[in-house]
């Protein structure tokens, strides 16, 4: 050490730095915590309003925590209006879309990742090209198609365009291509066919990607707005998202604010619960889906 003065100075500054750095880090962290709390206030406010009686809300709506908390607003959701029906529609459409998307994407992903079939070099770019199509810009021709088949206001019409999204195939192809071939080859030696290998080996091995894709699809389908707005025009066939949107503005705003917010909470709860349980998978899905990681 003594032989090399440069080293001692480095060590000295290094020892002095942490205190200043640590202090700055704490201020920074505190700032971040405050920011995160401010970030979540609008959501907390919605919960608070949903638990407050409508009469109290006539006087004041600016409490972050509920005054005279009650569950009346939630009870009214299931007594008045179509909200339960909309919830059911959303559950059916989202559930079917998610399962079918995951299954079909996994099958297509398996074909692209593992089967050396003729025409693959045409089929794969063809599917990838779909990533460029902005769904929201193509609702007019899609509407016409379903109108010609007289299929609007059906669950099929709500689900099919969502299933057509190629992102899942892209995710599953990338994931399955990374699974070591040895595992599969052992099964081939045992005489297992493609279909069996897919179900018995590839699907179980792909559970992380399948869950990520499922959660991602679920969130996007549940929250879909433009297509259900265009296709499902019967009030009975609204999803919870379009239904809730239709109530805003119609409602005698301030007088029914609590009930309205309770509907908002009910519309969000499935996703918030799912998000808290599967946060890691959802976040993984986002980074796989958009970065190919």
């Amino acid at each position: 050490m003594a032989l090399n003065p440069a080293v001692t100075t480095t060590v000295a500054t290094d020892a002095a730095a942490p205190r200043a750095v640590r202090a700055r880090r704490w201020v920074f962290l505190l700032f971040l915590i405050v920011a995160a709390i401010v970030w979540i206030i609008p959501m907390v406010w919605m919960f608070s309003l949903s638990l407050t009686p409508n009469e109290v809300l006539q006087r004041s709506t600016t409490n972050i925590l509920p005054v005279e908390p009650t569950l009346d607003n939630f009870a009214s959701v299931f007594q008045v209006g179509l909200t339960p029906r909309w919830l059911l529609n959303s559950v059916i459409v989202t559930g079917v879309t998610t399962i079918v998307t995951v299954l079909l994407s996994a099958m297509a992903g398996y074909a692209f990742a593992r089967i050396p079939f003729r025409g693959k070099r045409i089929a794969f770019p063809l599917v990838l090209a779909g990533l460029m199509v902005p769904r929201e810009a193509m609702f007019v021709p899609l509407f016409l198609m379903f109108a010609e088949w007289d299929m609007h206001n059906t669950y099929q019409a709500l689900a099919l365009p969502r299933i057509a999204a190629p992102l899942g195939v892209f995710i599953m192809t990338a994931f399955m291509a990374a699974i070591p071939r040895e595992i599969e080859e052992a099964a081939v030696v045992d005489g297992a066919g493609r279909w069996r290998i897919f179900w018995r080996i590839m699907l179980p091995m792909s559970v992380p990607a399948l869950t990520a894709l499922a959660i991602f699809t679920f969130v996007l389908t549940w929250n879909d707005y433009l297509w259900p707005l265009v296709s499902a025009t019967d009030r009975e066939m609204f999803t919870i998202t379009t239904g809730l949107a239709s109530l805003q503005g119609n409602f005698a705003q301030a007088t029914e604010l609590g009930s309205l917010m309770a509907r908002g909470v009910i519309a969000s709860l499935p996703l918030l619960i799912l998000f808290l349980i599967f946060q890691r998978q959802l976040i993984r899905g986002i980074s796989i889906g958009s970065g190919g990681k």
Binding site: D14, A17, L32, I33, A36, I37, W39, I40, P42, M43, M46, L49, T61, T62, I64, L104, M107, A108, A111, P116, R118, G119, A123, L126, V127, M132, V133, P134, E136, A137, M138, F139, V140, P141, L142, F143, L144, M145, E148, I163, A164, R194, F198, N223, Y225, V230, T242, L244, A245, Q248, G249, A254, A267, L271, F275, L276, Q279, I283, S290, G291
Partner: protein, 371 residues
């Protein structure tokens, strides 16, 4: 195919049979997805292009009349058209600023000479030439609402992209540390992303309300007049931008965090030993390390912003006075309020082409710029 089959020459028919079997099973595995994909995703694009040349009434959709490029004329043209130097001059001047940027990249050697010349000419033609075309005295656009809503969409993209990307990056850098606390904070920032647009508008329409919301009282406490955000032609669009920031920034945070994970921590340590400050570390380690992610986030953000619809449609219906009317709303209302499906298709095609062009330009321009 025949050549391929006979190519192996010496190999037996067994491998040929195996390949045929593979081809059959490959297409079988692909078929269910491919069918739905072709019918419900690719075919509609083709259909939109075709419908753009027809007059299609929503009430009698089978009765179509070929009208050529009339829809496009209606979108892009008007009466008494002239060209003026001062028309939209702020935007055109801003557009011309791309040329010094290109010049800088050319000097850096990140784009070729030919590419520089071609894009400079393109920028000049578009910003000086095309954007100067407008209806003269006594004239008007055939569809001024189209320009209004498309302009608002572009405005939204320009306002929201730097903000949502920048705030996302800042939060991600702050959260990029080990430990439970960072995880909890990330959850809080991300949570709004899982809300549907209808819940978002439910919360924010009331939050922004000067009497009922949470922001009005704050203004009053400071002795200021509360602003009726969504009813003000000045403030409605910024309010929509902030609402969207709150809703979607978590998505960008997640992407940036994934990108930050790939930067070696040892690089920061080495930089600290060299006496680099936080800014220098950001500029010389974080930004180059995040290059790919940054490009991805910007492209995704721009594409998503071009498709803005729900928040505006539910919260303001495009008002006040058209200040927040956006492209998708114009397409939606042309189709389902005015029953003009053909015209709506033509506008969809235009939106599609613009989005693809911008995404392609971003990949071309942003990628070499930083490498």
């Amino acid at each position: 195919m025949a050549a391929q089959a006979s190519a192996p020459g010496g190999t037996s028919g067994a491998s040929w049979r195996a390949r045929t079997r593979d081809t059959a099973s490959g297409w079988l595995f692909l078929a269910p997805f491919l069918l739905i994909y072709l019918v419900f995703l690719l075919y509609p694009v083709l259909q939109a292009v075709i419908m753009g040349f027809f007059e299609v009434d929503l009430l009698v959709i089978d009765d179509r009349e070929w009208i050529g490029i009339d829809h496009y004329v209606r979108m892009f043209w008007g009466t008494q058209m002239t060209w003026g130097l001062t028309q939209l001059w702020v935007w055109r001047l801003l557009g011309l600023l791309l040329i010094p940027l290109l010049w800088y990249w050319r000097r850096q050697g990140s784009i070729s000479r030919n590419f520089f010349i071609v894009s400079t000419i393109g920028i000049l033609v578009f910003f000086v030439g095309i954007l100067g075309i407008h209806p003269g005295q006594g004239g008007r656009w055939y569809d001024s609402q189209f320009w209004l809503s498309f302009g608002n969409t572009v405005l939204f993209v320009i306002l929201s992209t730097p903000l949502i990307v920048g705030v996302g990056l800042a939060i991600a850098i702050a959260l990029n540390r080990p430990g439970r606390l960072a995880g909890v904070l990330r959850t809080l920032f991300f949570a709004p992303y899982v809300l549907s647009v209808a819940v978002l508008t439910l919360i924010w329409a009331f939050l922004l309300n000067p009497q009922l919301g949470l922001i009005g009282p704050g203004f009053e406490a400071l002795g200021l007049e509360p602003i009726n955000w969504l009813n003000s032609t000045t403030w409605a669009m910024p309010a929509i931008v902030v609402t969207t920031l709150w809703w979607t920034v978590g998505f960008n945070v997640v992407l940036f965090l994934a990108g930050l994970q790939d930067i070696e921590p040892s690089m920061y340590e080495a930089a600290s030993l060299d006496g680099a400050g936080p800014w220098a570390k950001f500029r010389f380690i974080t930004v180059p390390g995040l290059q790919r992610t940054l490009l991805l986030v910007i492209v995704l953000q721009v594409i998503a912003s071009f498709q803005i619809f729900g928040q505006v449609f539910i919260m303001t219906r495009g008002g006040p006075n058209g200040a927040t009317r956006v492209a998708i709303q114009h397409i939606y209302e042309s189709a389902f309020r005015d029953f003009e499906l053909g015209y709506a298709s033509a506008m969809s095609v235009f939106l599609f082409v613009v989005m693809i062009a911008i995404a392609a330009a971003q990949f071309r321009f942003l990628q070499p710029a930083e490498s």
